[in-house]
Amino acid sequence: MDSKDKIITSDDILGKDAVDPDGQILGVVTKLHINKENKQLVGITIDEGFMKPNLFLGMNFVKNFGVDSVFLSQIPITKYVGLKVYDSNGKYIGTVKKVIPKRHKVLSIEITHNMKRYVVTSGDIKEIGVSVILKENYKMDEL
């Protein structure tokens, strides 16, 4: 690849869809953040849509700048907040209130239900997708 082809402009990034590793479109890239001292790109801001706060992602979250989209290398854990949590039988357990991360991975999740707060560790989570599904013999501690 010619070095000229490796250079892109802000026009090639701004307005593009930010796509996470699951293929979900998180929003549109609205800002580029540049360190004015070393002149390097440090991150991007994603507009997640109406009534949702903008999301800043550092460059370690960006996998590559594509033709029509920006691919992310990791799923931002804030994406899990608000997901519904079910047990393996489909019983509603609560909603994800907070995610406790460890090295960009989910260590545990805080669930709220009927004004009570519970914590479930990642070992008891079977699946995180459209909602969170817990394993059969999961443990849930009240906070």
Binding site: K16, D17, V19, D20, P21, D22, G23, Q24, I25, N64, F65, G66, V67, D68, S69, V70, F71, L83, K84, Y86, D87, S88, N89, G90, K91, Y92, E127, I128, G129, V130, S131, V132, I133
Partner: protein, 153 residues
């Protein structure tokens, strides 16, 4: 369900306890959830022979109905939990190639017979544009949307 059945008189040469049986009422209307936790519809009908239940007809919306084999159900309690993500749900999902190029949306799925095994996706960018057939081997991620492992011109 069980407590209502306690009061029912039994007329049978074999059975003295009918509480051990499952009722069709326990199935019909139950919400169906895919492996990834997506609500994919509700049970409209249960199909069975004298050997037992073979599968359910799942209804999503007014027009979309499909038959799901009993073997694909993990549990049917509060909700009917599936052990897989039905590939029929890939229709209308967005397809990106490895270079981030938006190729279009899935318009049709080619699968092995009537199983849940994918053979290829047919993708179109616009209604009048030429469809692109993408083999299963070219797919990298197939979750919320589809990301391919190679570039498409």
């Amino acid at each position: 369900m069980g407590d209502k059945r306690e009061k029912i008189d039994i007329v049978s040469p074999r059975e003295t306890n009918i509480l051990k049986f499952e009722s069709m009422k326990d199935y019909i209307g139950k919400n169906v959830v895919s492996k990834s936790g997506e609500h994919i519809g509700s049970i409209l009908d249960v199909l069975f022979t004298n050997k037992g239940v073979h599968g359910m007809i799942v209804s999503k919306g007014f027009f979309s109905k499909y038959y799901v084999d009993r073997t694909y159900f993990n549990t049917i309690k509060e909700k009917a939990m599936l052990s897989m993500d039905p590939i029929l749900l890939l229709v209308k999902k967005v397809v990106f190639d490895s270079d981030g190029k938006r190729l279009g949306k899935v318009v049709r799925i080619k699968r092995k017979g009537k199983t849940n095994e994918l053979e290829a996706l047919v993708v179109k960018k616009r209604f009048y544009s030429k469809p692109i057939e993408i083999p299963k081997s070219a797919i990298d991620v197939m979750k919320k949307n589809i990301i391919l492992n190679k570039k498409f011109e």
